[in-house]
Symmetry: C2
Subunit: 194 residues, 2 copies
């Protein structure tokens, strides 16, 4: 990679990180391209060079944050030790952290905005389909689940949908005590199901 390419890559990364941060901190309507460029410390010209529209920037940020989230989960999961039960416990904790963390919140802002913005929605749908498949595959891998057995695929899907619901329940207040109790019961169910 040339020095020029490296600089470009670093600028893009700063813009994408700033987009995620601004979506988290200010919500969809507050995360304007001006605010994002300022947060990234990137000129408007450079921003427009890399991402000509707000939609282009946000879509790239959604992909970037999905990759970052998967990478974080994978790294932490690689350090896991213990038997199957302890491993399941820790994997669910890792996933629950992801679904209540800043990356989930930023993604939710984009999903909700895309619902009433046809152009954004059309571009987002294939990205989200891929992200969803990758998240499912990662969860199967981390849990060591055997999807050829009946009901296992649905159990993994239900886990991810449950975690998404718990993420939304955590938006306005800290739902940790309720979530902890609920997930303790869920882990026991899941251990029997997968």
């Amino acid at each position: 990679m040339t020095a020029q390419q490296e600089r470009s890559r670093a600028t893009q990364r700063r813009l994408l990180e700033a987009t995620v941060e601004c979506l988290h901190d200010f919500g969809w309507s507050g995360a304007t391209t001006t605010v994002i460029a300022e947060r990234a410390g990137v000129s408007r010209g450079a921003q427009l060079h890399h991402y000509p529209t707000r939609a282009a920037l946000v879509l790239a940020a959604v992909q970037h944050l999905a990759e970052r989230r998967a990478e974080e989960i994978r790294t932490e999961a690689a350090a896991l030790t213990g038997d199957r039960e302890q491993r399941l416990d820790r994997v669910i904790e890792l996933l629950a952290s992801a679904f209540t963390g800043p990356l989930f919140v930023a993604a939710l802002e984009v999903w909700v905005a895309a619902r009433t913005d046809a152009e954004l929605r059309d571009a987002l749908v294939p990205i989200e389909a891929r992200v969803g498949r990758e998240m499912h595959r990662l969860t199967v891998e981390l849990l060591g689940a055997d999807e050829s057995r009946p009901g296992v695929r649905e159990a993994v899907q239900a886990t991810l949908d449950l975690l998404r619901g718990l993420g939304v329940a955590n938006l306005l207040t800290d739902d940790t005590p309720r979530r902890t109790q609920l997930l303790a019961a869920w882990k026991q169910q899941l251990a029997k199901m997968i």
Copy 2:
């Protein structure tokens, strides 16, 4: 009730219904007080008389839509026949419809907006806590679940959190085929758990 009170009540109802419709159709940022008054066919003066601020209108609408949703579920559930298994099946279907319908979408718009609007959030949190408790109680009642038995409370909560997650998964595309398959498996699990 006097004729004047009846007219006031009807005006309020029109405004609240219009608020829910506009949140659904245009999202949070598009559902301005002007757009809502126009949709309701109510003058700006009358709107301001009943709901002096946008926050007051939206908070009243959230309560109104929660009541309407509970009422709809209750009415449909009252018509249910069949054995325990058939009843569980139909109750989950009713709840899944509620969590993928326009009232859920309107509420989600408000939750997400409230996350980055401290004033709205502070007013919304106690309302949502009450709505959440009532939804839980209604679900327990409709399922005929006995919460004194260990794990039953968590199973009912997990059902509602799962349905919330499925509601979000249905925002941008029609997720019905996947949801139907997932819920078929969930109903079997739930029947064993409650």
